[in-house]
Structures are given as C-alpha cells and as structure tokens.
Symmetry: C2
Subunit: 421 residues, 2 copies
C-alpha cells in the first residue's frame, strides 16, 4: 500500500505540472504549438546519433532478454524511421488548428449569443508498448490539440523513448513552451500505471496503444475515461445487387491488404441470392493465400472452404483467415453483426443505394461502410492527418481519433446584461 | 454475493430487452417516436385519477415515515403538476429530430464520401430521487433521442412512478413501439442499482439526477460512463470596465433568482479597480436577503459583509449566501477559479469585449458567460427544449444535455468500390 501511495503522489505531481502547462498554453500565442512541433522535428533529426545509440542499447538488452524477431523489429529505429517520425511531427504542425473552432453559434430570443467552441481536453495519459515512434506521435497529436500528455512507453524501449522525449522537450523549450506539456513517466513500475489509471480528476483521459491484452487491462483498471477499442471484428454483407467485380476487389482488399490491422475484414456475410458471386471471391482470396472457414452450405458449395467453428464468428483473426456465412437477407446479416460484431467497422456491398443507406443506418458500429474496403478505417484515410487510435466508445470520441477529436468543447454565452426571469 | 449475481442477471435481462427495442426502433418509421410521446401525454391526462391516488399513498407512507416538508413537497403531485408533465412530453415531441442529423460531410480525393451522423447512444440508465415527474421527463428525452431507458426512482415515490410509467407504456403501445424502450427497475433493492452501475457493455451511460450525495455515490461506483456534475461552484469576475447598473442586476439575478439551483452564483471576484461598484451591489443583495462573506479588505470597506472562512471559497452554498473576494486583475481571478471552481459555469462582467473574450477562452468551465446571469446555465434557456441534466465531464456531453446531446455519432463511408492501396 505504501508503494501505491508513493506512485499516487508521483502521478499527482506530474498531473499538476501538466495542468499548469495547459493553462499557460491557453494564454499564450497559439502559433507557438506548431513552432514547437517543427522544432521538435528538427531536434529529432539533429539528435539522430544519440537516439540511434539509445535504440541500439535497447535492442541489445532486448536480444539478451530473448525478445522475438517481431518485437525486436517493432523496437528497432533506423535513419528512415527517424525521418518518418520527424516528418510526422511536421505533418501534424501543418494541420489546421483544432482548438477554438466554432462548432455551433446561435442567438436566443433574449439576445444571448451562445457558441459551442472546441477546447483542449486537458491532461491525457498515453500507455503504449514497444514502438518508440509513439513517443513522438502521441506528443505531437496532444500538443497540436492543446493538451498536455503523460507518456508511459514499454520497458524494452526505455532508452529510445528517453532520447526521443529529450528532443521533443528541446522543441518545446525553443518555442518558449513549458516542457511539462510532454512528460515521460520516470519509472517503469507497474504500480505507477495503476496510479495513472486511477487519477480521476487529475488525468482527463487515457489512451492505451497496443495489443488487446494491454487495452483490456487498461479498460478494467481505469477510473479515468479510456479512449480505445478492444476488438475489430469487422463484417461485410454481400447483397445480390452488388457489382461482382467490385465485390471481389473490395473483399480481397478488406481482408488481405494487411490482415493484421484493426480495420481488416473478419467475416463475410453472403446473401443467399448472391451465391453466384462466391467462386470468384474464393478464387481471389485463395490466390492471395487466405484460409477460408464457412458454414455447412458454403463447405458443400466450394471444397476450398473449410468448416467454421462457432467460435470463428466472434474471433478477430488478425491473420489471413476469413469466416464466411450465408444469410437469408439484410435482416439476418444485421442480426449476426449485432450478436458477434464489436462495433468497430462494418458494411455492405450493394448496388441498391436505398437498401444500403438503410443498412448503414441500422448498423450500431462506429464506422459503417458502403461499397468500399473496411481497411479505410484509419485517421489518415479519413483525412484527419494522423490518429492517436480508433475508438468504439459511444460518448464523444468514436471512430478514428485525430487532433480534432482530441478536443472537447465549451459553451460561450455572450450577453448584454441579460438576467433570467 | 449471490444477491449481487441475482441483480446482475436482472439488469442483463432489462438491458437486453432495451437493446432489442432500440434496434427495432432504428428500423421503424421515426415519426412514431413523436406519436408515442403525444400518446403518453394523453395517457397521463387520462390516468390523472389513478396517478394522483398512487401519489396520495406515497405521500401517506412518506408522512408516516417522517419525511420532512421539503421532501414531501417534491414528492407531491397535483392537477397542475400532472398537466406540466404531459405538456412537457408534448414539447419534447415538437422538438426537431436529433437522430440522423448530418454533423459533417466531406469527400476524400479517392471519391470516398464520409459523413458523421448523429445516432442514439443506446441504453441509458437514469437514477433519481423523490420527484416523480422525472419518470416522464427522462422517458421523453431518451425516447425522442432514439434511446431506451431503464428508470430507477426514489423509494418514497414507488407507487407514483409505477402509475406514470404505466401511462408512458400505454403511449408506446398505442404508437406500435416496444414498451421495453422505457423500463422501470422492478425492485428498490440498492444491490440492483449497483448491478446497473456495473453493467459495462450492456448499459451505455448512467445519468444520476438528484443531490450531491447521490451523484457522488454513482460516480464512485459506476463502471459505465456517468453523465453528471457534482458541484456548481460558480464565479463571476467583476472587471472595472463593467457597466455598474448591469453588474448590480446580473449579480443579484445570478445569486438570488433561485439560490438553490446548480447555476447559481457562489463567489463574486471583484477587481481592485472596480471597488467603487461594491456598495451598489451590496445594497441590492442585502435588500434581497443575501448573506455576504468577504475577505478582510471587503469586511473593512463595508460593515454589511461578514468575514469569509477559507472553506467558503470551495463551498457551493445553494443558499442565499455569497462569497466575495478582491482580486488584482483577470490573472488572479482565473487562478482563483482554476483552484476553487468546479468547471460548471463561470464568467465575467466587463465592457471591454476583447478582454472578456480572452477571459472566457481561458476559463476551463463547461459554460463561460460574459455580461449575463450564470442562472442561464439551463437546457431550456439554451434553447435545447428540455434537459436531462448538466454535465461537467470533458468527453462528449458538456453543459446542458438535451435530446441532441443524448445522441452520439457514426461515420458513414460511401464508396464506389474503393480499395485501400
């Protein structure tokens, strides 16, 4: 218990300095945020050597601890990855300012002018795993949106994260901004993460960036709002009115472009009236090396389809595996998605626009797609410039979360002496 | 533990029926929601006798249990209050439909059309205290916004709530809607409230309506998002450029119109350069029966001002008491509000518009007011038609929450076969 109190105090201190930095930022000239982002990019380029050296020591320690090749690749930095990190900060600096946007503006009969204005959320915690580039990305997105961020990266990337963080601090300082806008948790102790997640009222939101285990743990423990999605068990429903060539191209892209991302297709629901499109879709998927698991009817129709287990309907494969099922029509497709979907990205392939519009309106998903790949579920593809994640919550942040989505709003009420009768 | 499991199952059942009802509502003709609201209003009028009889029995039981006169008054229904309830439902029916509004609409270079569309939040729990009219109000607001609601009223109003709920069910049925859109928790056992608050993934949001003790308990126990505010410790800063007559009228209204509502003024911060306005403000407040508690300087300036304790700065009096303090300028006013404010409603009285705009932008409050009474912090006064409460959270719902704020959004992505490169 003494341990936990010690970390509670640590987090309180970090959060208080972050809050003060946010308040000072609100009073300062807003262009300085972009200036700091560009300066941080320059500082990362200038510090390429120390950053890569720090990364070498992380890689060495990781190899000694027996990290697998996939994890080591995620951890690894090189000139190209450093340049991408710096360019990413410059791209964020070039985005329009999401703060102080007028979201609505109306005047009441008594002359009161009421405006709904975008303002920063406040103090954001970001908890992430091995990729050290998240240190720069998260700092950039939070700073651009006028927030302060407390970063907690993976233990295996400690030295890399510290080196990148130093460059970001340099950027802040050279623009005359408080370096406490971007703070790195000074300990890797798990109890400090627990304190961060419980810092209700001090930390306004936590963003977990990483695998399902990390997200689940954060969601279970957090007393502060969490911006995240746990699963991307995404569906497409193939309606008989769909264009057959389009269906092949979209399904293949949705599943196989990158099977491991959260926007990847996991189950294809085929209308019983669209089974004539099956073999062309199977041809293409098999050609791309995709394993197919279907219901009984589909297994009988095509020998290349193996039997699906009941658990396959609720599985996010994140791999070159697709579940397929015949449905009697849109109602049954919607029922299946309501039962097994995760509310991330679902959609329809159909030439009938009215039917498709009705189908989208009845999907309870953050992103509803008509005649396009589910892999467009991405902040960059949405035109948000960059994203800190994709959210499946229902309140406020839903879908890709870029700088605009990292703001909340404030009502401004402008009067001329109105008193309430 | 067996008790708790039993109530978990009860809540799961209610939530599943609510979810199914929401899904069915999304597929139905949307005008039926307004039809149901009007039918519910008619049913309340038609059932005036049984509702008033039920209320009599609640009043009798309350008197027997020794409820105080204030509580009994809140519990009491009469013809006028019933009519207000019915008219309230009709007013909600007359509001524009908040569902399916296009919040944003843009097209990407690849031709993808992306829309951000308002959709219902889903299943909402409302926990409230003695006033039985909340049964009709909350049902109306949730139904209008396409949500299902699970209601849990106060034990002292059980019979009244049941009778009102029956009328609402009648309205739903007569419009051909699923009565499970508005469900009343069938038990007053506190363990059932606990189960409701923990029903993460089944209940999408909980709204506590009642005193600070209720809100604090809900916020502490909830695992589902809570829409609420705990305190309304509201401030006005009087700048030397303020119009003196306006200042008197606005301060008097902000404090004394109804001292017990959450938008009432609690502390007036007077600029050292505006002390010439003090005596006129004190004259008016004293005339209205307001007790004044000020810092040392103010006590010396005016004998009608008593000494303020340190705890007064953080107190939401909800009574005819006002705290007053001299500040050196806007910076010190902002510091005071940042330290003691509750993020509800704060503002400035000033003739200098540029200074006032900068002041509002630096307030970290859901509602920021210039030259108007803080008592305008109200959904009706904002033009929202009706409100289910006022939220001081930073995510999504902030400020007065009417039907529009009871929706979230979905991205609709409309393609012509786009695949992601």
């Amino acid at each position: 218990m003494r341990m936990s109190k010690q970390f509670d105090q640590l987090i309180s201190g970090l959060a208080a300095r972050a809050r003060a930095a946010v308040r000072a930022l609100a009073s300062g000239e807003r262009g300085r945020r972009d200036q700091a982002l560009r300066a941080a990019a320059a500082a990362i380029r200038a510090a390429a050597n120390p950053i890569l050296q720090a990364n070498d020591s992380d890689m060495q320690a990781g190899a000694d601890r027996g990290l697998g090749p996939a994890l080591l690749d995620r951890l690894r930095l090189d000139e190209a990855r450093l340049e991408a990190m710096a360019a990413g900060l410059e791209a964020i600096a070039a985005l329009p300012d999401p703060v102080e946007r007028v979201l609505a503006d109306w005047t009441r009969p008594n002359g009161l002018n009421i405006r709904r204005i975008a303002v920063p959320i406040g103090v954001i915690g970001v908890i992430y795993e091995s990729r050290p580039n998240v240190t720069a990305d998260a700092a950039g997105l939070c700073l651009k949106s006028g927030n302060a961020v407390i970063l907690r990266g993976g233990s295996e990337a400690v030295a890399s994260n510290r080196a990148i963080h130093s460059a970001v601090e340099e950027g802040l300082a050279s623009a005359g901004l408080d370096p406490h806008l971007v703070q790195l948790l000074p300990t890797q102790d798990h109890a400090a993460v627990g304190s961060l997640l419980r810092a209700h009222g001090q930390v306004d939101m936590v963003v977990p960036r990483g695998g399902k285990r990390l997200v689940a743990r954060v969601q279970a423990d957090a007393r502060v709002p969490v911006l995240a999605h746990l699963d991307g068990n995404n569906h497409l429903y193939l309606h008989p009115s769909a264009d057959p060539e389009m269906a092949v191209a979209v399904v293949a892209n949705a599943k196989m472009r990158r099977p491991g991302i959260c926007g990847a297709l996991e189950t294809l629901l085929i209308d019983a009236g669209a089974l004539d499109q099956l073999s062309a879709i199977v041809d293409r998927l098999v050609e791309l090396g995709c394993e197919l698991r279907g219901d009984e009817q589909l297994c009988e129709l095509d020998a290349r389809i193996g039997p699906a287990a009941e658990s396959d309907w609720e599985t996010e494969f994140l791999d070159a595996i697709l579940a397929l099922k015949v449905v009697a029509g849109p109602e049954q497709a919607l029922d299946h998605i309501a039962r097994f979907g995760s509310g991330h990205t679902d959609g329809i392939l159909a030439g009938d626009d009215a039917l498709a519009a009705e189908f989208l309106a009845r999907l309870d998903s953050a992103i509803a797609v008509h005649n396009a790949s589910t892999q467009f579920a991405d902040g960059g593809e949405f035109g948000f410039g960059a994203e800190i994640g994709i959210a499946t919550g229902r309140l406020h942040a839903r879908g890709p979360v870029g700088v605009e989505q990292l703001t909340t709003f404030q009502y401004r009420v402008l009067g001329s002496g109105q008193t309430r009768p």
